[in-house]
């Protein structure tokens, strides 16, 4: 209980303190401390759920089970490492004259609010509050994407707001339809939107309404997942926002949005006999993988490159959840974890690399290994990990997804394999000269934070060779839950 409140309240309190304190020089440390405390609460919550099973709290408004608890832990962890990374990163940006102290204040408090909205979205039991928290997550990041106030970043933020706003409006309609169907079974009032209640009566829900609701929910939350063809906002927002924001958008927000989709899918597949939800998710997922793979080779901006790679990986996970079944769900959950860790590590490395070379263009970044071995190797290893090289965890999850696809959806396997190959060629050929090759760069006024990168990559490596039995058990439980 206290742990749950800690996870929910600490980021909000941190945001208030950071907004009130203003641009003191200690703000980055307070930011790290808040994220650290949030992470400790999340760890305590995880330990509690591990020992005592699912938890319903605060008048059934919050709910923790094996599916969301590991996402909460992951979100808090990446939040902490991003705060650690952004401490020197933002100071360097300030020293380079790209940001004023006032904007840093906005950045720090909005970062904590963003964490709060994502954790609320994960922990809430109410599908309506889930929607509210997702929309709030968009709102808190709009000003973060436009933090540099360059024409390009304003455009990216506007596009992000309008596209995600329209998308999330679809999800609201889907939620209304869900409530409409649930109200007939559970009666009017707050209880009819509680996921735990819905889950227990899912077989009695009206199938036509629920299939229609799922279409709207998938399109709505899918916009935030970055599923093609609604992915347009994603590369822009990632490329133009500050790098810590790109890291949390890719590493966390996409996961949270996908989490919302999966929660809805559980209800819909319980109510509807035909596999309409599964087919829709597989279709959207596959389309995203293929489209992103083709677009990867055309990217000239390194952050856009990795943003498209996020679309590709989210497509893979959505496809795997669409297939369903114990193995595919297990692999999808594992892939969510390793993608989140790897992609944020890559963005950390890319962030320092762009500061070192003063450009985000792939052609402008050369010889990172000679400039700074840690940044160079961090980016090289991160790229190898995200491309699915063994022994990293991404290989394990992709391997599981592909073998399951071969068995259950053989038609999709060549498409997936082709797209993965294409993505490999595109990303590798771009990153290789960035890491090696002739060096041009400048000295940074602060020491870059590379520890988070190697912590993340270390975890991904560990998950590739050995998944802790406790974690594997969670994944299994969650996979059963998702069905």
């Amino acid at each position: 209980m206290i742990e749950l409140l800690g996870v929910l309240i600490l980021p909000v309190a941190g945001a208030a303190v950071l907004a009130a304190l203003g641009h003191r020089s200690r703000a980055p440390e307070i930011n790290v401390a808040t994220s650290g405390l949030t992470f400790l609460s999340a760890a305590a919550l995880t330990a509690r759920v591990m020992s005592q099973g699912p938890l319903l709290a605060l008048d059934r408004l919050f709910f923790v089970d094996s599916f969301n608890v590991f996402l909460v832990a992951l979100t808090a962890l990446v939040g902490l490492t991003t705060a650690l990374f952004s401490r020197p990163y933002m100071r360097i940006e300030q020293a380079h004259g790209r940001l004023s102290a006032g904007r840093l204040r906005l950045y720090h408090s909005m970062f904590q609010l963003f964490m709060a909205t994502m954790l609320t979205a994960l922990l809430t039991n109410n599908m309506g509050i889930l929607w509210v928290a997702m929309e709030a997550a968009t709102l808190t990041t709009v000003l973060l994407v436009s933090l540099y106030r360059t024409p390009a970043s304003l455009e990216a933020a506007w596009k992000y707001f309008i596209l995600c706003g329209v998308g999330i409006a679809q999800a609201l309609f889907g939620t209304i339809l869900l409530y409409f169907a649930a109200e007939k079974v559970l009666g009017a009032g707050g209880g009819a939107l509680l996921w735990t209640e819905l889950e227990s009566v899912k077989t009695q829900l009206e199938p036509t309404v629920l299939s229609l609701a799922f279409v709207f929910l998938l399109v709505g939350y899918g916009t935030k997942v970055g599923l093609a063809p609604l992915h347009n906002w994603l590369p822009d927002a990632h490329a133009e926002g500050p790098t810590p924001v790109s890291a949390v958008l890719s590493g966390l927000l996409l996961n949270v949005a996908l989490y919302a989709v999966v929660r809805c899918k559980v209800l819909v597949q319980g109510a509807v006999d035909t596999p309409v939800a599964a087919r829709l998710m597989m279709g959207f997922g596959l389309l995203s993988v293929v489209l992103a793979a083709f677009l990867l080779s055309r990217q000239k901006d390194v952050k856009r490159l990795f943003a498209y790679s996020s679309i590709e990986h989210m497509g893979i996970v959505t496809f795997a959840f669409g297939m369903g079944g114990a193995v595919a769900n297990f692999a999808a959950l594992l892939h969510m974890t390793v993608h989140s860790l790897t992609k944020s590590a890559i963005f950390f490395a890319v962030g320092h690399a762009t500061q070192k070379t003063g450009t985000q263009l792939v052609d402008g970044i050369r010889g990172l290994v000679t400039l700074s071995p840690v940044i160079g190797w961090g980016l090289a290893l991160g790229t190898l990990a995200i491309l699915g090289m063994p022994p990293f965890g991404v290989f394990a999850s992709e391997f599981l997804i592909l073998t399951t696809a071969m068995r259950e959806q053989p038609w999709a396997t060549p498409l997936l394999l082709g797209a993965l190959g294409l993505a490999f060629a595109a990303v590798f050929s771009k990153v290789q000269p960035m890491v090696f090759g002739e060096a041009t760069g400048r000295r940074l006024p602060h020491r870059p934070a590379m520890v988070p990168v190697f912590v993340h990559l270390g975890l991904v490596l560990m998950l590739g060779v050995w998944i802790p039995p406790q974690l594997a058990e969670w994944y299994r439980q969650a996979a059963r839950l998702i069905g």
């Binding site: 408004l61 309506g128 509210v132 929309e135 436009s146 360059t150 455009e155 409006a169 000239k300």
Partner: protein, 228 residues
């Protein structure tokens, strides 16, 4: 054949007014009038909700009536008026939208919305179920407005009016969402509006106008020369 009760007729009247306002917003070029139309839409919505609350004896709908009045009739229009005064775009007239074509597309959308609503309203047990089609039409018309407009403010008003349509859909299909959700949605809308206010000043500062064509030329350049 008996006539439906008076309150049901009133609700239908309100729904019809809502649809008319949707078309009026679609064709309105003046930013200032657009805000007034948005306020009128909010007022119609509040009246409709109050009538539903009275007619069907749903006390919690009175709360959402009050919320709608406070937020969509008073607060948001006031914020928007203040915004256009500060940005000095009060007398802006938007050119270059082909109103007859837009209206024709709007009519097609309304027909589509009514068809889409049929299977749902058949299942609904509320007296207001016949207005679900109008609610969906309002959503689609606002969507059309967002697509056709080239300036930032009308797009945002379109977005807000889409939220009105969704609110009306919730009222007519289920007598409104649970209170906690409605409060959350209202909070999101308000915070969103405040953030957009800040954002507009940023756009203005950068481009000296709120015309979205500036944001579009950049979009094309981006492939060749991405940002710093």
């Amino acid at each position: 054949m008996t006539h439906p009760p008076l309150y049901a007729q009133l609700i239908n009247l309100g729904a019809a007014i809502l649809l008319l306002l949707g078309f009026a917003m679609l064709s309105q070029r003046r930013v200032r009038t657009l805000i007034d139309l948005y306020a009128a839409q909010g007022l119609t919505l509040a009246c409709g909700t109050a009538v539903v609350a009275y007619g069907t004896n749903q006390p919690h709908l009175y709360a959402s009536t009050a919320l709608t009045l406070a937020l969509k009739v008073v607060l948001l229009p006031w914020l928007l008026h203040r915004l256009i005064r500060k940005l000095d775009v009060r007398w802006d007239v938007e050119g270059l939208i082909n109103i007859p074509t837009t209206m024709l597309i709007g009519i097609v959308l309304v027909v589509f919305a009514f068809n889409l609503a049929v299977p749902i309203s058949e299942l609904a047990s509320t007296v207001t179920r016949s207005t679900l089609g109008i609610a969906m039409a309002t959503v689609l018309l606002s969507f059309l407005m967002m697509i056709t407009r080239r300036k930032a403010l009308p797009q945002v008003i379109g977005f807000l009016s889409m939220e009105n349509g969704l609110f009306f859909a919730a009222t007519s299909a289920t007598y409104g969402m649970p209170m906690v959700v409605e409060l959350g949605i209202a909070l999101d809308v308000l915070v969103g509006m405040l953030i957009l206010g800040v954002f507009f000043f940023q756009i203005r500062e950068q481009f000296d106008s709120l015309d979205l064509k500036h944001l579009e030329t950049l979009r094309e350049d981006q492939e060749e020369q991405p940002g710093p």
